[in-house]
């Protein structure tokens, strides 16, 4: 069977082509990141040299020193961690309880609520920009970290529910029934039986929620004006308003924001893949 042989064994040409494609994908994804790292470590005159050097002749940590000692980077960093953590904890607690009741209790309009959740997942936050801003002003939540967290919670919660629901649905009811028969109450069944099984889903949801808060630019821009309350996204943006734009500094800030995300990402990658299957990304 000549046909089988042709498709069974890959020809050298198609193998080379496959590796070229893989390399192309790698370069497309990785080059901008490589360039960010390299640019943050170059000395000033080399940074602006033409032609640019792909491997620096001289290395220095000037940009990082400037970032840590001459800017409010750490303040921005702390604010971002606090607001992201606050958002994540509240969304997960409310999301687990909400998703559990969506999947376990039958009530009128359950399907309707599920549909609205899907709509909320698609819903672009910018449409709520003006009303959320005016409401935040009315309730004194402008220039406040909890106020910012509340905004993130309001548009993370619906799609956290959406992902968690899928995970809870995959856990067989029989396990819970067994726990209930053994004398556990609903809360105990949730804590000791459902939660451990849904843990990968909960972790995935936590990560996605964290990323929403960590990455947001728009609402931080509108709701935070005081420098000491700024998050990284709007804080780093301020670096462009210096008299001379220091690209080394901006790239160093980029590296510092990216590295924790990278480490975190590698550590939890397998949970992420699980969450992606359930439609957990937004942005």
């Amino acid at each position: 069977m000549p046909d089988r042989a042709r498709h069974g064994r890959r020809r050298p040409v198609s193998r080379t082509a496959a590796w070229a494609l893989r390399l192309g994908l790698f370069a497309f994804c990785a080059f901008p990141l490589y360039w960010m790292v390299v640019s943050s470590l170059k000395v000033s005159h080399e940074l602006l040299a033409s032609p640019p050097t792909f491997w620096p002749h001289e290395w220095e940590l000037r940009a990082y020193r400037k970032l840590f000692y001459e800017t409010n980077f750490w303040t921005y960093f702390q604010n971002t961690v606090v607001v992201s953590a606050l958002t994540t904890v509240i969304v997960i607690v409310a999301g687990v309880i909400g998703a559990y009741s969506l999947t376990r209790y039958a009530f009128r309009g359950r399907t309707f609520v599920a549909r609205v959740t899907l709509l909320a997942y698609m819903f672009p936050p910018i449409i709520m920009l003006v009303p959320l801003f005016l409401l935040a002003r009315q309730f004194g939540l402008v220039n406040s970290i909890p106020g910012l967290a509340l905004t993130y919670i309001s548009f993370s919660l619906p799609y956290a529910l959406w992902i968690l629901r899928a995970f809870f649905q995959s856990i067989p009811l029989e396990l819970e029934h067994a726990a209930l028969i053994d004398g556990a109450n609903r809360a105990q069944a949730l804590t000791y039986v459902v939660m451990p099984l849904a843990l990968p889903g909960i972790i995935a949801t936590a990560i996605f929620t964290f990323i929403v808060a960590w990455n947001d630019f728009l609402f931080a821009l509108v709701l935070i004006g005081q420098d000491e309350l700024k998050t990284l996204a709007i804080g780093i943006n301020e670096f462009f308003h210096m008299a001379v734009v220091d690209w080394g500094l901006i790239m160093a800030a980029g590296v510092m924001v990216t590295i924790p995300a990278l480490v975190f990402f590698i550590a939890v990658q397998r949970y992420l893949i699980a969450g992606w299957g359930a439609g957990g990304l937004k942005g």
């Binding site: 901008p32 819903f123 003006v130 630019f217």
Partner: protein, 275 residues
Amino acid sequence: MLAFTLFPVGYNVWLGFFAKHSLRATSTWVGLGNYAQMLSDPDFWRSVWLATVYAVGSTTLQIFAGVAGALILHQRFAGCDFLRGVALFPYMIPTVIAVFVWRWLMNDLYGVIPYVLGTLHIPGMPEAWLTHATIMWVLIVLSVWTFFPFVLVNVLARLQTIPPELYDAARVDGASAVRQFFHVTLPQLRNVLLIVLLLRGIWMFTKFDVPWLLGFGGGAGEAIRTLPVFTYQRSFTYYQAGMGAALSNIMLVLLLMAVTIYFVAFPPSEEEQDA
């Protein structure tokens, strides 16, 4: 939860009928005044057009790049797990950083990409890219880079559930790799592609941070002043909260129309309606 979602939308519709300052408490009923003013404003129409160009251009290319990437990563090869991680990374880094890195890559004086393109001596290639004429291209390429992993992940997840027997059958029938893609893979991907297309289309049309951070709303930024950027400027540069709300409402109506037309044209299959 309903209150969280529906109340701001309702409040927004209500606000659209007022001339309201973003910071002062006063507001005046103007009925449809905001809408009349908006529809006669050429800047508004331009922003709708730019948002459409941006959404269509970047979504289309994301789908192509995402499907291509998923096909590349679907095979097993040495280092494929590593490459999967790398390919997802553009999506994980904060948008602000992604935009700043691309502004640096494309910098008119010191950018490495204009330099490399310059060495190729292609006639008609612009020397500077962050200008009125070409900034939209930069915006689209940068957005594809940032957001194509979303398509990749969803397509890859689906690819891995296609039963291998389908390919065996196609091979026995003597189908080439290209024919296998169009007759086996693509029909299997139909549903996931439709959903991804809808989501990405909506999110790209309403994307604010990427065009804003790339253009800062001024200078060459005017060439990428999409509807979300225009809405932001009305609300927070000119403090016309009523107009901002009216613009958001228009965005919402446009999206609801798009979603409706979409679901009428491509009704989702049973399994997905319930998922």
